[in-house]
Symmetry: C2
Subunit: 365 residues, 2 copies
């Protein structure tokens, strides 16, 4: 019988199986251990804040850059080289699986994803095409992963996928929105259509994540940008089951799975119960409070307030130390921001935070 | 000695003092009583959803309409006539006191308030002018209130003001923003400038509310649209004191004061402690849970999910009854939405909800 830490559904040459990443600080922390040094990475570390990214992306539309394996891989690697973070996360966009499934979607600069034909009715949902691992619609994603892990060595790559609620909100609204009123109206007023839409979304985003894990990602994170617009009741009834279904698509692979949402202080337990191994926490909830809610076996990830990144160095350092201290309340802690890196962030500030987090691991607490 | 229910700082001919509104269902509920019928009004009831409003506003910029006493009064009265709600709320905009204090601000349709010169430094804050009740910069507001209460009779008018954090967020960002990162960066990185800005904002929005109450409004509500972007620690340290200062500007008047914010489930106690008599609850938090957090003496207001307004009638009715049932857990309950009326709402749906809430008051529970 294989040891429980050997994911049997992944090939022997997968980084989790061939010894490359299974002993890394990130994977050990995701598995519930306390490595000597607290691992650290930043949501949105690959992208907008780096001058080398802005140069590379010049003139290339966002979704095209995600679907160009060499470019996506290079962008994924940039922050690892520059900051020395403990993980890469695949440069992608949560709407990529929509695009690969044939949905008309573009990223409009300054606005966000815009859906050509919003999904509003049962007929609209029935017309959505499936996305399968064969015959290779997902090959550009898998190729980007393979190129990336060849360079990463022992640094794990995290697979990236949007949670079904956030994707469904974009599909129904047709673009970004404040309270996701049209999506929530469908959820409350036409639950059958909503459930069909969420089931489809769970399948395609789960398949997107599966392609990344099989190609060599060592962990996966589900991002639910908009879950915070839901009451706990509505989240539990009408969003969490689809997050669970998306995670179920990859569970047999045995890679650790992270579930993160924004504004989800009251939803943390439900996000855990959707089948996450690790829960990401935004800047609003103290990590020790979050860990109290999540219980003694759930590693947490987070949650330095991105608004601190523009503050004087001493204020940042105090914030980092506070997050590290509160993270001690959890069985394991992966340091991160409470949300994505803002575009105007000074990259040196991020590098300094990585050094501080790594240095702090060696200090007595 | 006057009875405690007689606000001594208001003139004898004020509706709270001359018997017009002190016995109304709204004021009794705000004072902690349970009138025979649950009072009901809707945030944003005056405005976008009504065809008579759209006709009246045609060609008139938003802030101009707020500063035209006859037009603001007529818009304020429209939903009372149409829906039979138990309160009017002055048609205004939270940036009106900024405009009256000389800040360059416009409402850009589809975007929201845009500030001509964002406030970013200590010098910017020092350059902000004061707003005083004399010599009558606030006269258009007071006149709108007087015109309105002359028509309202025994229906109370609620005064309207933005909370300091939300106003400060607009001032620093220069317009609407998602996470109010620039404002929160100033808050965390330059707390002295932030405190000066918040103190100024509290004074002008408090003065704006005071003008409405003195002119005849029977209650006041502070709206904190963006407070939900703050952690409890940051809210308590850096936002709540300014909300308290704004409420202090009007406390001597003795009118009931409501404090409402969006996404503030974890902030409810702090909002109460800022000196509110009543706490408004958004759609994310069940009223019985909110009341448990707020304790046995605090009336609650809310919180039907606006996303339900587009649902089939039976779904809306179930939602209304659920809110009424959960509201029974509080000492007193004023029915409202959990956020503003969406522009595309069918006005007849709102009228139907008023009838249902009033009818339900007479039924055994």
């Amino acid at each position: 019988m294989p040891e429980p830490s050997t994911p049997v559904a992944l090939p022997p040459e997968h980084p989790l199986n061939d010894g490359r990443t299974s002993g890394s600080a990130l994977i050990r922390a995701y598995r519930g251990e306390r490595p000597e040094v607290t691992p650290v990475w930043f949501m949105r570390q690959a992208g907008r804040s780096l001058p080398e990214y802005r140069r590379l992306r010049e003139g290339v539309p966002m979704l095209d850059s995600c679907l160009d394996p060499a470019m996506a891989s290079e962008i994924t690697l940039q922050p690892v080289r520059r900051h020395g973070v403990d993980a890469a996360i695949l440069f992608s966009d949560i709407v990529i699986p929509l695009r690969l499934a044939g949905v008309g979607v573009e990223i409009v600069p300054g606005r966000g994803p815009v859906i050509a034909r919003p999904v509003r009715t049962a007929e609209d949902v029935a017309a959505l095409a499936e996305l399968t691992l064969e015959p290779a619609a997902l090959e550009p994603i898998a190729e980007a992963v393979r190129l990336t892990i060849d360079e990463l060595g022992s640094t794990p790559l995290i697979g990236f996928a949007g949670a079904p609620f956030t994707l469904a909100a974009y599909l129904v609204e047709g673009g970004p929105s404040k309270d996701h009123l049209a999506a929530r109206s469908m959820m409350l007023g036409d639950p059958e259509t909503w459930e069909a839409l969420m089931a489809w979304t769970a399948r395609i985003t789960g398949t997107f994540l599966r392609a990344q894990l099989i190609a060599g990602a060592s962990a996966g994170q589900l991002f639910d940008s908009w879950a915070g617009s839901l009451s706990l009741d509505d989240y539990t009834t009408s969003a969490a089951p689809a997050s669970a279904a998306a995670l179920d698509v990859v569970r047999d692979l045995g890679a650790p799975l992270v579930h993160f949402g924004v504004g989800t202080g009251d939803l943390l337990e439900a996000m855990r119960d959707a089948g996450a191994d690790v829960v990401g926490v935004d800047w609003r909830t103290r990590l020790d409070d979050a860990s109290r809610r999540l219980g003694p076996t759930v590693p947490v990830q987070g949650n330095l307030d991105s608004a601190l990144l523009a503050a004087p160095a001493a204020v940042i350092e105090r914030g980092v130390r506070d997050v590290l201290r509160r993270g001690q309340a959890a069985p394991a802690h992966v340091f991160n921001l409470g949300h994505g890196v803002p575009p105007e962030t000074d990259p040196d500030v991020l590098t300094g935070i990585v050094e501080l987090v790594h240095r702090s691991g060696a200090e007595p607490r």
